[in-house]
Symmetry: C2
Subunit: 509 residues, 2 copies
Amino acid sequence: MAKLKHSHLSLVHLTIFIITIIASTVPSLASSPRFLGKFSRSSRRNSQSPKQRLQYETRYFAQNLDHFSFSDTPKFQQRYLINTEHWVGPQRQGPIFFYCGNEGDIEWFAENTGFVWELAPRFGAMVLFPEHRYYGESMPYGSKEVAYKNASTLSFLTAEQALADFAVLITELKRNASAEGCPVVLFGGSYGGMLAAWMRLKYPHIAIGALASSAPILQFEDIVPPETFYDIVSEDFRRESSSCFNTIKESWDALIAEGQKHNGLLQLTKTFHLCGELKKTEDLVNWLESAYSYLAMVNYPYASAFLMPLPGHPIREVCRRIDGCPDGTSTLERIFEGISVYYNYTGKADCFELEDYSDVGTDGWNWQACTEMVMPMSSSRDGSMFQTYDYNFSSFQEECWKDFKAKPRPTWITTEFGGHDIKATLENFGSNIIFSNGLLDPWSGGSVLKNVSESIVALVTEEGAHHIDLRFSTKGDPEWLIEQRATEIKLIQGWLDNFYQEKKAAFDM
Amino acid sequence: MAKLKHSHLSLVHLTIFIITIIASTVPSLASSPRFLGKFSRSSRRNSQSPKQRLQYETRYFAQNLDHFSFSDTPKFQQRYLINTEHWVGPQRQGPIFFYCGNEGDIEWFAENTGFVWELAPRFGAMVLFPEHRYYGESMPYGSKEVAYKNASTLSFLTAEQALADFAVLITELKRNASAEGCPVVLFGGSYGGMLAAWMRLKYPHIAIGALASSAPILQFEDIVPPETFYDIVSEDFRRESSSCFNTIKESWDALIAEGQKHNGLLQLTKTFHLCGELKKTEDLVNWLESAYSYLAMVNYPYASAFLMPLPGHPIREVCRRIDGCPDGTSTLERIFEGISVYYNYTGKADCFELEDYSDVGTDGWNWQACTEMVMPMSSSRDGSMFQTYDYNFSSFQEECWKDFKAKPRPTWITTEFGGHDIKATLENFGSNIIFSNGLLDPWSGGSVLKNVSESIVALVTEEGAHHIDLRFSTKGDPEWLIEQRATEIKLIQGWLDNFYQEKKAAFDM
C-alpha cells in the first residue's frame, strides 16, 4: 500500500481538540476551510445559541504568569465572564458555577455551554466563565503576537498554570465578595472537562465537585490503546453503513494513486473543488481525515452548528451521500459528495481552501500537544477506515522540535495527575466527579466509562457525542439526553446538600 | 519601652526552620556561632547518629528545573540516597519508604531520621532520601554560587517544584525497577513534613500515605493566631520556672539600655564573651532570640545533638542556670549563664561569634520565606517572653525586596494547598496522613492537632519536641515516645495491608 511520507502529520494534528477550530482567531488554522471566515462570528453565534439568552459582564483579573516559580515575569489580564443575576448571595451561601475555560475564546464556550446557564436560576448560582491563558483575550505579554512568538514566551501555556489561574481567581473573587463560604461547582467539556476533573483532584479545598464532560484524562501513554480514537471514529461510520466505511477506507489509495499521476494534483483540485491548486496530496488527506474525526465528535442527533452547520446525525447523512451516488461514480467523487456535508452543508461554498499546517506555531493547542498533552494515536489495520499508522514518539518529538523548539514530556501528565490505576486512586481519594461521555464521541475511549465509587460516577450514553450534555437544551433533545441531564442535576444537588449539611453541622457544634 | 529599630528582623529570620542551621554549607548562616565550624561535619555526625548504622548508595537524577512551564532551562542533578538491602523487591510489592527532603543537606536528614531506617527491615522496605532542590548537592546551574546568584536563578526554589521533583523521581525509579506495583509511604519532618502531607494530598496516585511530623501546614495567613509560635516557646520556659521566664522577659530592656550607654556595646561584648566587638545590640538580640526558639524545638527528654550538643530537657537546664546564679547577679549575666547551655554545653568555646544577617541571600529558606512560605509571626504582650512585636506584612515585604528582589505571595500556599477549613477538606478528600506533634515544639501550634477522620490522625504528645518521633530510638526514650512510634507503625502497617488487600481483590476479579 502506497504511503505518503508525511501522512502521520495529520494524525498529530488531529489530537487538537475540536474547539480550536472556530475559537482560534487565526482563520487559516485547523481543519476548517477558509471560506468560513465569510460568516462573521457574531452572525454565526446568533444563528445557533441566541446571544440574548446570555447575560454577563466581562471582567479582567491580573494573574501571575508563573505561579510555580518567582521569575520576574509580567502579569497578564485574564478575562472572565460573570453573571450574578440569579445568585442568592454570600449570606445564603449561594453556589458558584465555574466553567473551566479551555483552548479557545471564552465567549464561544459560554455560548456553547447552555447547561450551566440553564442551571443557574434553579440553583441560585453565580456563573463564572474564566478564559484559559493564551486563548481569546487572555494573552500574556499583552498580545497574541508576542505571547506566541517562541518557546520562551509560550512556555507558561500549561494545564497546571491554567488550574492555578482558576484557583487564584476563584479564591480572590470569593474573598472580595465575602463569599468564602459559598460552594464552587466545576464544569468543563473536552480539555475543559479534563481541567475540571483535575481541579477537583488537585484543589479539593476550592471546589466541591466537578462535571467533567467528554474528558479524555486517560488518553496518555499506554493507558488506553492508541488505536482507540480512530477506531471509534471509524465505527461511527461503519455503524451507519459498511459500504460507506469501505469506500472511505479505499479512498486513501485512490487519492495517492491519483496524486502521483501526471496532472494528478490538478485533477484532485478539480474533483474536490479546491480554490487553489493542490500542492501535495497530503494536504487533502489531512483535510478529509480531520472532517471525519470532527464529524464523529459532533455527531449530534439534531441539527447543530457547533463547528459547522450540520444536519442531525451528520455521519448518517455523509454515508447516505457516499452510498447514494449513481453506479459508476468513482470513489473520489463519492468522497467529495460525502465530505461536502461537513464543509458545505449550507451549499454556499463555491470552492474550498485547505488549511495551512505550516503555521502551527500560532495554535495554542498544538503547543500543548507538543509539550504536556502527548496523546499517542495510531490507526489500526482492521478497525480503522483511516490509513494504517503506528504512533511513533521519535518522529512526533522531531515534529515538535521543528515546529516549536519544544521537547515533549510524554510521561508528565500521568506523573502530575495520575492515570495508571486511576480507579484505585479515585476510589481512595477522590469524590464528587461526574465523568459524562457519549460513546459516539471518539474521545470517550480515553475517558472514565465506569463508576469508580458512589460519588465518582460515569454517565455513559450510547448515542451521545462530544459533550452534548453541556449544550443548551433543545426541542430535539432525545429522551436519553434529558435523563442524563436530570441525573447530573440530581448529583450536583446532592453535592450541595451534603455541603450545606456539613456546614450546618459544624455551625451547630 | 525602648524598641530597637530593626528588632523585628529577628522575628523574620526565626521563621527559618531549625534544619538550616547546620545543614547550610555557609558557616556564617543562621543562629549558630562560627566556632561550630571547628567541628568537622563528619566527626559531629559520628558522635551523634553513628554513621555505621546507615548504609546507602548516593545517586543522582537529572531533573527538569521547571516542571510547570517549558522554558529552556538546564536540567539539574538531584541527589538521592538509596538503600535496597532490606527491600523484598518488586515481585513481592515491597514498600518504598520515601523521605521528603527538606531545606538542607540530605545526608544530615538521613542521619537524623533514624525511624525510617529502623522501620525498613521490619517492612522489607526500600529507603529513599531524595534531596530538596537548591540544598546540599542538588544545585541547579551546577553550583550554589550560580543557583543563589539572584531572584532569577533562585526563582525555581519552590515547594511545588520540589514536590514535582519527588513525583518524577519516584515514578522513574519505580519504572526502572519494574516496581510500579510497589506502595510508597512518605515521611517528613518540619518543612519536610509539610511536603509529605501536601504530597499525599496532591499526588495520591504516587503515595499511599504520609507521616508528617511537626508539619505546620496551618502557619499561614490568619489560620492560627500569629502569636502562636512565640507563645509556645515562652510557655516552654514558664513551665520550667516563672522567674526564668521573667528574667528573660526583662532582659531585652536591660540589653537595650546597656547598648545605649557610653561603651555599652563593649560592655555587652564582654558580658557575652563575644569574639569580635558587638556592632549593634540588635545582633545580640537576634542571637539570643534564636537560641530560645531553637531550645524550644529541641527540648528533648534525653541528651542530644541535633543542632548543638545539649543535655536532656535543655530548657530546664537553661532555667536552672539562670535561676541558680547567686543573689546580686545582674539580669544580663544570668542570661549569659543560661544561653551558654545552648551555645556552649561542651564548654569548649572561649568566645562566640554572632551570625551575619547581611548575607541572607545565601540561605534558601529565607528565599522560600520571602516568596511562598509567608508565615506571620507576632510576639504577644503577655504570653511571650520576647519583645512585643506585631507582624507587619508591609515591612516584611520591604525586607524581602531588599534582600532578594522577591515579592512575597502571602495567600498562595493556602490557595495551592488549602488551609482554611482544612478539617472539611481533609475529611472529604484526604486519607492516610499522620500529623504527629509534640506540644513543646513551637511549630506544633501551626499543625493539625485533632483527628480529622479515621485515617487522618493527629498524634499529639505533651512532652514531645520537634519531630522527635523521626529520630533514632535511644535507650533514654520515654514510654510515651515508644508508644507514639508503635502507633505510627501500626497505622503504616494498616495502610499497607489495605493496599495489598485492594490489589489482591483487583487481581482476583
